[in-house]
Symmetry: C2
Subunit: 412 residues, 2 copies
């Protein structure tokens, strides 16, 4: 069943290599307008999903994620319009080399071809992912969760109609309407048609895709993010950064989950940090030495140090050296975002060099790991793997490169 | 069993992030010297592999690939020395952004960490791959074929001794001594320790790795390479380029396997091309229209058009338009290297834009797709996938990036 979608996508991918930036932007603006004009259709479809969700016993949080009202649809439409304003990531000449034999070799950015997105119950991903793929010249096959299927169908139909209106084949955006587990597995094995597969959602979903996909995957992962308070830290700055990184938004992957504090400073630092975190009733779980300083901390064990709480909870590990801090963090982190708070430039340099994470901060909150905050303009996810893309991924990360070689008859 | 190798590699990877370029280069020169000084050890071990190979009935070609004599060992030692002379791919600042809030964000290149290489019976890969991984700051786990195990053990031991002598832990280079199928499968699932897995060898090997690995793979693939002779081609140039691309070395992935010729020019072009290929007794298999021009061609069918012959055989497809040529090629190629021969710049531009391959040539032989010919200095393989690296991969392709973010207390 899915094979036909693959065939369609592959065909359109060929056409998309020659579509101009202007055409792509027109399509995105047309999508944005159409989503607003046909908002009622989306809301009607979304109501069915909400009803079905309630009957299936989804909790309030999931129902909220699923829900689309006029405000949220406006947000989605705005996002599409913003993608139109971003630079075209294709056609950049990244390198030019002239070889002794006269060959001119250019490395240029170009669309990957066909991208698959597997996601869960957030219908906004349907429009977000499709608009980023379109702008980067890729055909997309979307496989969203069954909870949002009616909303996704409505959004996909509106987008397909819109792009067709400006001369781009509708099949540049295709939705898998079969939401069985089997369709998901089938998509993961469609190496013949898909150039890349990006899972977006829970740890379990991502794990399943990594385990089963033969299509190259970009893993967007969880964040067990650490902040290390060095011996030479400014304690006030540390308290403010930790307060922000832990409490500004607890449910996100760049929130801080664990503190590592140098033993020479913990007596002075931890009470101040605790006082700040107490304002938001954060539960602090500490090792023995941390609890010697603040006896009312809960006990942290090895499981805590490996846990992404996504809650008002944080763990504290005491270390005797920068080396010990780095080892502890590299052992427990998920490679997402870590920070050092210190006035010691040498220590900052060593920390930033040796910490094995996508984004390493000196004297700033881990909460900045985000496509928008990094100035990418839009984000398809945050990669925690090392191949292809690492950290926040924008439009450029949805492109590949090719070598164009210009000769006048050269042979080897 | 392999887990311990993973633990060792991960530990050394942390140390390698701070090793200087000079240290790495010293280690490579030390390896090069040691391989020459201890060549007898290698030859002795190699003799055992050769004996075993003969007893196991390996054919002459395989025995030749396996064989190491003093000349070949000198070649291997030279290659290590050349890697020392290449630029360090780590520590390049690829982008610097200053955000409105004062954060300075730098994207820098850095080692991936731990790279696994799965390969077959060529013992030179042991030294080549290890030296490229070392120069790019990565720990490597090598899993070569059982046919070369004694040679690999000798080479690995010499390299490990050499790097230890200059202060780099021996475990930066580890060889899997268990050559059972199970060890290979285990390596493919060591996601906890490996950042990347590169298979080098036959189509079957690569296929097995792609199918079974949970570690991100860089697929280095086969080449069903096409040359399209456009209506506006210089026929003499076409003949020379085709002769070179087909016959200069038949067993390589960038050799030409299939011609696509415009029907308006085939009457004049094919006889000339055939006359040139006849010099090397190349078997030409043509479609009906090609055979109408040269009746003594063999018959080409759809299977031919999808076949990488790696032999003195070539297929010919006749087309009526540039569009048809592009469609035929994108359908049958393996995404490796394709060329257009034409004096028409517009046609060349369209061809280069729409052909979905790593390397697309205008008026030059496909045989140039090679790290050395592209000026990369060394090559770990040629990627036919679109994630991370595409086309010839040198040292840079063995690195990843990380974001370093410098603040003075910024919170979100």
């Amino acid at each position: 069943m899915l094979e036909q979608l693959g065939i369609n996508a592959k065909k359109v991918a060929g056409i998309l290599t020659t579509v101009t930036t202007e055409q792509k932007n027109n399509a995105l603006i047309e999508i944005s307008n159409a989503l607003l004009l046909r908002a009622d259709e989306i809301i009607k479809a979304n109501n069915i999903d909400i009803e079905n969700g309630k009957m299936a016993g989804l909790n309030a949080g999931l129902i909220d994620r699923l829900m689309l009202d006029r405000d949220r649809i406006e947000g989605i439409a705005d996002a599409c319009r913003q993608v139109a304003e971003l630079d075209d990531p294709c056609g950049r000449v990244l390198e030019t080399v002239v070889r002794p034999n006269g060959l001119v070799i250019k490395k240029v950015s170009c669309p990957m071809g066909v991208i698959g997105i597997i996601y869960e119950a957030r219908p906004n991903v349907t429009a977000d992912a499709a608009s980023l793929c379109l702008k980067s010249g890729n055909a997309v096959i979307l496989r969203g969760g069954k909870e949002a299927i009616e909303s996704n169908k409505a959004i996909a139909k509106i987008m397909r109609d819109a792009i067709e209106k400006v001369g781009i084949p509708a099949d540049a955006i295709q939705l898998v309407e079969d939401t069985s587990r089997q369709s998901s597995t089938e998509l993961m094995r469609m190496k013949k048609y898909l150039d890349c597969l990006i899972p977006r959602g829970s740890k379990n979903l991502i794990q399943a895709v990594v385990e089963n996909s033969t299509v190259p995957v970009i893993e967007t992962g969880s964040g067990n993010c650490h902040i290390y308070v060095d011996r030479d830290a400014d304690i006030d700055m540390a308290s403010e950064i930790i307060f922000n990184a832990k409490t500004q938004r607890i449910s996100v992957c760049n929130a801080c989950e664990s503190l590592v504090i140098h033993s020479d400073i913990i007596d002075r630092a931890l009470p101040k940090i605790k006082a700040r975190l107490d304002e938001k009733n954060v539960i602090i779980k500490g090792d023995e030495r941390a609890r010697a300083v603040c006896p009312d901390l809960e006990i942290a064990d090895e499981v805590d140090f490996a846990t992404e709480y996504l809650d008002y909870i944080i763990s504290v590990k005491t270390v005797d050296s920068l080396d010990e801090a780095i080892e502890h963090i590299n052992k427990n982190s998920t490679g997402h975002s870590e920070a050092i708070i210190t006035d010691n430039e040498d220590n900052a340099k060593i920390f930033m060099q040796r910490i094995d994470s996508s984004s390493v901060y000196h004297n700033a909150s881990t909460r900045f790991t985000d496509g928008g905050e990094f100035g990418l303009g839009a984000e398809i996810g945050i990669s925690t793997q090392k191949l292809h893309a690492r950290g926040p991924m924008g439009l450029r990360e949805l492109t590949t490169t090719k070598y164009l070689i210009f000769g006048d008859g050269q042979v080897r």
